[in-house]
Symmetry: C2
Subunit: 168 residues, 2 copies
C-alpha cells in the first residue's frame, strides 16, 4: 500500500493525542502523589510568555481536528476552549478523537493540492493540502504536545521520551 | 501529484533543520547581546534530567539523516557527536542537510513496507518504513527541535512559534 494523505494524517493525529493523554495522566498522578491540586498544573508554563498547559492541550487538539476537517474540505467543528480540569481536557481530547475518527479515507485522500486557507493573528495563510499537513499541522501538533510534556516534566512528573513517542 | 515517502520525509527534514538553524542563530545572538559566552547555552537544559541543547541538536540531525538512510535501505552516515560551539553545531546541520539532499526520490519512494530495524537502549525496534517515518522519526525530530527552541526561549532568546514553524 502506498502512502496516502489519510495515512499521513489521521493515524499520526490519533497517536499523538493518545500519547498526550498518557502524558497528562502521569502529570496528574504526580500532583496527587505530592498531595497538591492537579489543576495547579494547568496554568504551568515553560516561561512567563509561553502559553500554559491548558492552552497547549487545546491547540494540539485543534491542530489535529482542524487538520482533518480542512484536508477533507469541510468547516472544522469548533470547541469552546473553556476547560478548567484534567477531566475536561481529557473529554476535549476524547471528543477530538471521535471527530477525527469520523473522517473516511476517501474524504482526505487526494487532498494533496486542495486549497486550504487559515486565519492567523497575522492574516490569512494559504496552503495546498500537502504543505498544510506536512509543514504546518504536524510540526504544530508536535510542538504543542512536546511543550505540554515539558511543562509536566519540569514540574517533576515521572516522564521519559517513550511516554511522548509511545511504544511501537 | 500524490503524496510519496520522499515528499513526506526529505522536505520535512530539511525544513525542520533550516528552522532549527534559525532558532540557534537567535539564541546565539541573544547571548551576544547580553555579553555572555554563547557556548554557555549549549549546556542549557529544560530540567536537570533532560538532555542539554547540544544533544537536542545532535539527536534532531540524527533523526533526519538516519531517517533518510534507513528508508533508502542504506547504513546511515555516522557523526561523531563532538560539537562544542554554535559554529560546530551549524556545521553538523549543514553536513546532515547535504547528506539528506544526496538521496534521490527513487531511493525513498516505495519504502512504505521496507523493514527498518534500529537499536535503542531498550533493545532492537522493528518497523515498516511508513510507521518508522510517521510514528518514530517525525515525532522524534520535532520533539528535539521543540526542546532546543524551548531551552533557548527559556534563556530569554527573542523567539516565537513562527521561528520554529517557519514562514509558509
Amino acid at each position: 500500500m502506498t502512502l496516502s494523505m489519510y495515512q499521513a494524517s489521521v493515524p499520526v493525529f490519533l497517536r499523538a493525542l493518545s500519547n498526550l493523554q498518557h502524558v497528562l495522566r502521569k502529570g496528574e498522578a504526580h500532583a496527587e502523589a505530592r498531595k497538591y491540586d492537579p489543576t495547579l498544573l494547568l496554568q504551568g508554563r515553560l516561561t512567563v510568555d509561553m502559553l500554559p498547559l491548558t492552552r497547549q492541550v487545546q491547540i494540539a487538539t485543534d491542530m489535529a481536528k482542524n487538520g482533518c476537517a480542512r484536508l477533507a474540505g469541510v468547516d472544522p467543528l469548533k470547541f469552546e476552549d473553556n476547560e478548567t480540569s484534567f477531566a475536561e481536557l481529557h473529554a476535549r481530547i476524547d471528543r477530538a478523537v471521535e471527530y477525527i475518527k469520523s473522517f473516511k479515507a476517501a474524504q482526505i485522500d487526494g487532498s494533496e493540492t486542495r486549497a486550504v486557507t487559515i486565519k492567523t493573528r497575522s492574516g490569512e495563510q494559504h496552503f495546498e493540502g500537502e504543505g498544510y499537513l506536512l509543514h504546518f499541522v504536524i510540526p504544530n501538533l508536535f510542538f504543542h504536545c512536546t511543550t505540554a510534556y515539558a511543562i509536566l516534566r519540569e514540574a517533576g512528573a515521572d516522564l521519559g521520551k517513550i511516554d511522548f513517542i509511545g511504544k511501537s
